[in-house]
């Protein structure tokens, strides 16, 4: 399984990432998830979220999640970008691409990656008011 992980303060250029997709001829499904900063966290109206990562551990934990994905489903490729630092409302903080033969495993793997990330990857949010 190909894997590409980016943890960066740069804006996530989704169109460019999509344009750069590679997919072998046996693959039939590409799923994308973009997680975008919302203006309201609870009842508070915010301007941005400041993301902090314990980066070396985050990379290691993402690697273990990708290992699990590879064992469970016939996924060809996962690309994941997590932005850190200040991410303004309406900008993406997370972008995930999963490429698979069929949509069932693509949806399952994409949801699994996000759920596992929220359980084990050391990244934290702080609202910017």
């Amino acid at each position: 399984m190909k894997r590409e992980l980016t943890i960066s303060t740069e804006v996530i250029d989704e169109a460019k990432l999509v344009a750069g997709r590679t997919m072998s001829q046996g693959m039939g499904a590409a799923i994308y998830f973009a997680g975008v900063v919302r203006a309201a966290e609870g009842k508070e109206i915010i301007k941005a979220i400041d993301y902090e990562a314990f980066e070396v551990m985050a990379r290691h934990q993402f690697g273990k999640i990708f290992d699990d994905v590879e064992k469970r489903w016939p996924i060809e490729s996962v690309r994941l970008v997590h932005r850190i630092g200040v991410v303004a409302v309406n900008e993406a903080s997370l972008w995930v691409e999963v490429i698979a033969p069929h949509r069932g495993e693509a949806f399952a793997a994409c949801q699994f990656i996000i759920e596992e990330m929220k359980r084990v990857v050391p990244i934290w949010k702080k609202p910017v008011v």
């Binding site: 314990f54 551990m57 290691h60 990857v121 050391p122 934290w124």
Partner: protein, 81 residues
């Protein structure tokens, strides 16, 4: 044995500190380290049940026996995405 400890997220604000060092007897566990940290930074005590602890890049339980050179990280529940 000297153990380096890192704090992340609002644990840095609770302790007013990103990094500290703790002197422990050889063979000490994370539980013993944690008891010493609470003595030093009492505000951590309230977070007891939601504190995650890693040694290096792996999560470890309270009974883990610390080795020389281990770097320990304490942080609240993660919130990526």
């Amino acid at each position: 044995m000297t153990t380096k400890v890192h704090f992340y997220s609002y644990f840095k604000e609770l302790t007013d500190c990103a990094e500290t060092q703790v002197e422990l007897a050889d063979g000490s566990t994370i539980e013993q380290l944690y008891t010493e940290l609470i003595r030093r930074f009492p505000k951590l005590a309230a977070m007891n049940h939601s504190t995650l602890i890693a040694v290096g890049v792996e999560y470890q339980g309270r009974s883990y026996v610390l080795q020389a050179g281990d770097e320990v990280s304490l942080f609240p529940p993660v919130q990526g995405g």
